[in-house]
């Protein structure tokens, strides 16, 4: 087992190296560069730009810059952002909490909607509810997040005016301005009101998808012989569904959720831009615009590590959870 884990770990490391080479190369292939932001300013002469490029180390050829980057990264130093001059690690850690908060919230929303809906649809197949849910699931899967986001903004911020049109917090929010009785609710609402729309939008796609998976997984399990046996023994239907069927139906869903983790990062790029959410996604978009290679590489690597780690742990845990799955020796 230890040997398998070690081998799996080495493969992950190799993937990481390949990812970093590919990402770095792709960024170099993209036209423009970090110096483009100075080109539109008539006061900054060509000589000025040459001087700045040299000070940023951009005058060296790409492969040399990659080796420098790799050496520093292995030592745990992701370098400095070209745009802000701050350490890339700080730029990322400053924004990571916001993104994790958003991801966690949308994950929770997705699970708490998708699972019950999936179960109910499966146990009431072809009922009116099932058909309505099927309709909305496909709508949810096909609707682009940016469009749904703008729609939400229009309805809840502009039209109804109940939710703020973006951001993460109210700059002048002061809990002490509220009576002690309502203070906890005020604080809670202050946090929730900014999170509701982006979390729903970010979770939309997965909610729709997961409810479909849950439904079919459940249907498959229900038709198994042991369920029939349980029913024949006279086990109450509730117990059959939640005790015998659900646990087995959940196993593939949990795997899918693990594999969908990267989609939260990808979705965050769009959602955070629409709702002015100060997370990694927005940092990514800004850095693409600035061709801030340092920050982009930092985000790519950290995301890749998280995803690979997720898959790695999922694989290991899978063998622990399901005795039928074994690494062949």
């Amino acid at each position: 087992m230890t040997k398998k884990i070690a081998r799996r770990f080495l493969v992950s490391l190799f993937s990481l190296l390949v990812i970093s080479v590919l990402s770095f190369a792709l960024m170099q292939l993209a036209p423009g560069g970090p110096m483009a932001m100075y080109a539109e300013n008539p006061k900054i002469t060509y000589a000025d730009r040459m001087r700045i490029a040299q000070q940023l180390g951009l005058d060296k050829p790409a492969h040399v810059r990659y080796v420098i980057w790799l050496k520093n990264t292995v030592r745990g130093d992701l370098g400095l952002s070209y745009a802000t001059g701050r350490p890339v690690a700080r730029e990322i850690t400053d924004r990571l909490p916001a993104t994790l908060k958003l991801m966690a919230a949308s994950f929770l929303i997705s699970i708490s909607i998708a699972i019950p809906i999936g179960i109910y649809s499966a146990t009431h197949r072809y009922s009116l509810f099932d058909n309505v849910v099927t309709f909305f699931s496909f709508l949810g899967i096909s609707m682009p997040a940016f469009w749904f986001g703008l729609l939400m903004l229009y309805v809840f911020s502009i039209w109804l005016g109940v939710l703020p049109g973006g951001g993460q917090s109210t700059p002048w929010f002061d809990p002490l301005a509220f009576k002690p009785m309502v203070r906890p609710f005020a604080v809670l609402w202050e946090h929730l009101k900014y999170m509701i729309m982006p979390a729903v939008v970010l979770g939309l796609m997965n909610t729709a998808k997961w409810s479909r998976y849950m439904r079919s997984s459940m249907l498959e399990v229900i038709s198994q012989n042991y369920i029939r046996t349980a029913r024949a023994k006279g086990v109450p239907e509730r117990r059959v569904i939640y005790r015998h069927a659900l646990r087995n139906a959940m196993t593939p869903i949990v795997t899918i959720m693990g594999l969908d983790l990267p989609s939260f990062f990808a979705g965050a790029v769009v959602t955070e831009t629409i709702f002015a959410w100060p997370g990694i996604g927005r940092l990514f978009i800004t850095s693409v615009g600035n061709r801030d290679y340092q920050v982009l590489m930092g985000i790519v690597i950290i995301t890749a590590v998280l995803v690979l780690l997720g898959n790695f742990l999922a694989d290991i845990l899978y063998t622990v959870l399901d005795p039928r799955v074994k690494y062949e020796s």
Partner: protein, 543 residues
């Protein structure tokens, strides 16, 4: 899996207060609400390293300059007792600082801070975006804590202008020097002075939440008196749609309105509060540059024909909602050197066709004109997503097709457009904007010494079309040496006439900046120069 569990836990902690919130949003008490400005994100507040105009808006509140340019384009003293005295030869400028000007930490601002500001900008270790202003100075004479003068290497017309902008903000020596030494004799945008700067301006920084907002609080000891508005927040908003949503919802009070949304804003009331929409002329103009190295653009008649063959007035009326001025050259009508009598290209398809015919461009069987085997077909480039410029391209494309010219549209995001297409001179025609200065000299744009060559790093300048005209070179040089404004005006008039005749670029329109703000805000006077919108922020009042 573990990550998933961790995420769920984090979420659970976040919502650990358990119960669902009260269904009604809890109303916040109104009076404490600061004035909120919505704009794009920024990178630094260190004036030595900054090069973006949005940073200028915030730095104007935190720092002071020696002089300012007011909304009528006049110089007014800021840190000075009076405007500087200039010697007869125009080389020596003598200044007298106000006494008792305090930085936010209580230290007095004196001549040593002014001199240090110069020194740090000239320091080779510091990534200063532009040294144009500072390089002109030959020698300094510091008399005492309040009196100083400097002498220029040679006469520079309108030299004072640069001293009114954020690039000439006076920085506190005691703070910046300490950071410079601590970070190994340099300054970076990541330094403390970039993030929590100390200045002598009307507002001091309270909080900077990255990608969220910056909160400023008034500085009670400001040398022009305590400002009336207590707190001002600059909120960072990534897209125009969100900006509009937040404005409509009353979450931001002031914003620059993108031209196509002008009428939409006019029809809106912000959270029930009455708003004003103002429209200021600006020095920014949008133009379509010809690449004169392309053989099809060699004939002046082709360039003139294209200039005739698009409806300028209709474009401004429909695409810009009437916000903006027709451009006849590189100067706006508010400039003292603006020449109102240059050749104008009013929409005239017939004239355009005649010009092309006379130059020998004959209609081919597929409706595209040719001459000596060359087809009148080319590509226009602009920033993708800029709705106004895209609309212009489409109009021009359709109109030019009517006179036998085939134009393709290929747009790129800004980093590619400016970093690759423009810099590499890979365009036939490129559409973008320039900010023209307070001083009208178009040296970097139209002098033949300013033609960049991507293969030769020794070259510099922004004469991207590659325009060469001996008379224009001569006039630019004459105007730069002349001290008499009337004579300079004559030189600039002639330059504008030549450019209008030669059409090295089609002038599309002059920007008007449109702002929406609450009616209760008084003394909000955006400035057409690089002094920007907040140049007089200490005078702002909320009634």
């Amino acid at each position: 899996m573990v990550i998933l569990l961790a995420l769920v836990l984090v979420a659970a902690l976040n919502v650990s207060c358990g119960k669902k919130p009260a269904t009604q949003p809890v109303e916040q008490p109104k009076p404490q609400r600061p004035l909120v400005w919505g704009g794009p994100d920024i990178e630094t507040l260190n004036p030595i390293l900054s090069e973006s105009s949005y940073e200028t808006d915030i730095m104007n509140a935190i720092f002071s300059t020696l002089i300012k340019v007011n909304e009528k384009l006049e110089y007014v003293p800021d840190l000075l007792e009076e405007l500087p005295k200039v010697s007869d030869d125009g080389l020596t400028y003598t200044f007298r600082l106000r006494k008792g000007v305090k930085f936010h930490d209580g230290v007095e601002l004196t001549t040593k801070d002014v001199k240090y500001t110069y020194d740090i900008h000239m320091d080779p270790n510091v990534t200063v975006p532009s040294r144009t202003l500072w390089e002109k100075i030959d020698s300094w004479n510091i008399v005492d804590d309040y009196n100083f003068s400097f002498t220029l290497k040679e006469y520079v017309a309108e030299y004072l202008e640069g001293w009114a902008y954020s690039s000439a903000i006076i920085v506190p020596k005691h703070i910046v020097e300490a950071e410079y030494k601590a970070s190994g004799n340099t300054l970076t945008k990541g330094g403390e002075f970039s993030r929590r700067p100390i200045g002598s301006g009307p507002y001091k920084i309270v909080e900077w939440k990255p990608t969220e907002y910056i909160m400023l609080e008034r500085f009670d000891d400001y040398f022009k008196g305590k400002p009336q508005i207590e707190k001002i927040v600059f909120k960072f908003i990534p897209t125009d749609d969100v900006k509009l949503a937040q404005f409509s919802a009353g979450e931001i009070d002031i914003m620059e309105v993108p031209a196509p949304q002008y009428k939409e804003i006019l029809s809106k009331k912000q959270g029930g509060m009455p708003i004003e929409v103002v429209n200021y002329p600006a020095f920014i103009y949008v133009h379509a540059d010809f690449n004169l190295r392309n053989p099809i653009f060699q004939d002046k008649e082709v360039r003139q024909a294209l200039a005739y063959a698009w409806p300028q007035d209709q474009f401004i009326e429909t695409v810009l909602d009437g916000v903006g001025q027709p451009a006849t050259g590189f100067l706006p009508t508010i400039s003292w050197a603006y020449n109102p009598n240059v050749k104008r290209y009013n929409y005239d398809l017939k004239k355009a066709e005649e010009l092309l015919e006379s130059a020998g461009w004959k209609l081919g069987p597929d409706g595209v004109r040719t001459k000596n085997g060359l087809r009148l077909e080319f590509t226009m480039n602009a920033s993708a997503g800029n709705r106004v410029r895209e609309a212009w391209q489409q109009i021009a494309q359709q109109e030019w097709a009517k006179i036998g010219v085939k134009a393709h549209i290929q747009n790129y995001e800004p980093a590619t457009l400016f970093g690759d297409i423009l810099d590499g001179l890979k365009f036939d025609m490129i559409i973008f904007g320039w900010v023209s200065g307070f001083d009208p000299s178009p040296r970097t744009l139209w002098h033949s010494s300013q033609i960049p060559d991507p293969t030769n790093p020794e070259t510099s300048g922004q004469n991207y079309p590659g325009f060469v005209n001996a008379r224009v070179d001569e006039l630019i040089e004459l105007a730069e040496k002349e001290m008499d404004r009337e004579k300079r005006k004559q030189y600039f008039f002639e330059i504008q006439e030549i450019l209008a005749e030669e059409v090295p670029s089609i002038y599309i329109y002059f920007f008007a900046k449109v702002y929406a703000y609450p009616s209760a805000l008084k003394n909000f006077k955006p400035n057409p120069t690089q002094a920007n919108n907040t140049w007089n922020i200490w005078e702002w009042e909320l009634q």
